[in-house]
Subunit: 194 residues, 2 copies
DNA sequence: TGGTAAAAAATGAATGTTCATTCTTTTTTA
DNA sequence: TAAAAAAGAATGAACATTCATTTTTTACCA
């Protein structure tokens, strides 16, 4: 297969360079020439791996999103209680956002701008299913408030993005204590009060 | 004053066009020529009102942010109870994000990308003081959890941005019921449990 | 195993376009 | 009628993409 012969390393370097440059300068200020330079590749080579700039950024988005959800659900299994499952997933997500900060920043930028094609965006959402299923189960068991999945996501998961960005900008430090507090806030906002 | 002679209407039209085009196409795909066309103005005219493209977008950001906070605190006064004050401000913010959706989308994009100069970003944050003060008072009175202001913002206010964007993308409808639910989640996440 | 030719991959330079910004002229205002 | 404001066309730089070559890899045979 022609595709597989091309060095996967080069492709990865291109994706990585795209993330770093877009994070620092925004889509509008990251020319293909800079991406190529950072990946130690000729500009022309990019077009052996990607159709054009839009395709490069779409594919980068989809790949990073897939990594993110893979990491989030890696240690989860459906036999866990709702409460334990949620805590586990939440902490994995937090972990990803802190450890893979570059990747998470890139996703935040994509999710808040028209940078990405609608189709790629929808592709990215698909992988979230296990969390939605967990919430459905939680609602049935009377543990999770009977809210739309969007509301649950908005309060339980999305705030982590804000915190990550704030931390990245140097405004404050998201340490162990803060994280535990954040988790408690997340859980308070979606659990049924007793 | 030369400045004041120039038509304020033209300036406003430019700001409005910037918001609309950046919302729909992103910074990277909104040329000055399009902004000029949408504002019914010659490209050269933009440079009578703004230094350059970056300045145009910075100033637009600062102005919209100021509108936003002005609206948020318009009916609030410091003699209110913490609980009432928070509910009032929260609902004003929600109101703004739904009614002035274009403006709010623009802010979300600016806040999640390197589109805006750091200096302008900091300028925009200043106006949030009344809310921070309210939280400080709430913590003193034992009504609000003793968390950093960033955590409080992340859970109480920021989720509205996610909901607004999701609504704008057509995924779901943020009606009165949802809003009340969202408010309850917000409040649950930051209030001290009794 | 080593040599070689065909195919694939990679390159640097070229191309043509788009765009921010400026320049010169015209129109409006005072 | 002079000064300010606005306009449209011009300018030059930056950029995405393609082209013509060169380099590397693959596959085959001596």
């Amino acid at each position: 297969m022609a595709k597989l012969q091309k060095s996967i390393d080069k492709r990865n370097a291109l994706v990585k360079a795209t993330i770093e440059l877009v994070n620092n300068n925004g889509f509008h200020a990251t020319p293909m020439s800079k991406i190529a330079k950072m990946a130690n590749v000729s500009p022309a080579t990019i077009y052996l791996y990607f159709e054009n700039k839009q395709d490069l950024v779409n594919q980068t988005y989809i790949e990073v999103k897939a990594e993110y959800t893979k990491y989030a659900f890696e240690t989860y299994d459906e036999s866990m209680s709702v409460e334990d499952g949620f805590e586990l997933i939440w902490k994995r997500i937090a972990d990803f956002k802190l450890k893979e900060c570059e990747n998470a920043m890139f996703l935040a930028q994509c999710d808040n701008t028209p940078m990405i094609d609608e189709l790629s965006r929808q592709q990215g959402i698909k992988h979230l299913q296990p969390l939605l299923d967990l919430w459905t189960r939680g609602k049935k068991e009377g543990i999770i408030k009977p809210l739309s999945e969007y509301l649950l996501y908005a309060y339980a998961i999305n705030p982590l993005s804000f915190l990550m960005i704030t931390q990245k900008r140097g405004a404050f430090q998201l340490d162990k204590t803060h994280l535990e507090e954040a988790y408690q806030s997340a859980w308070s906002s979606i659990k049924v009060c007793k």
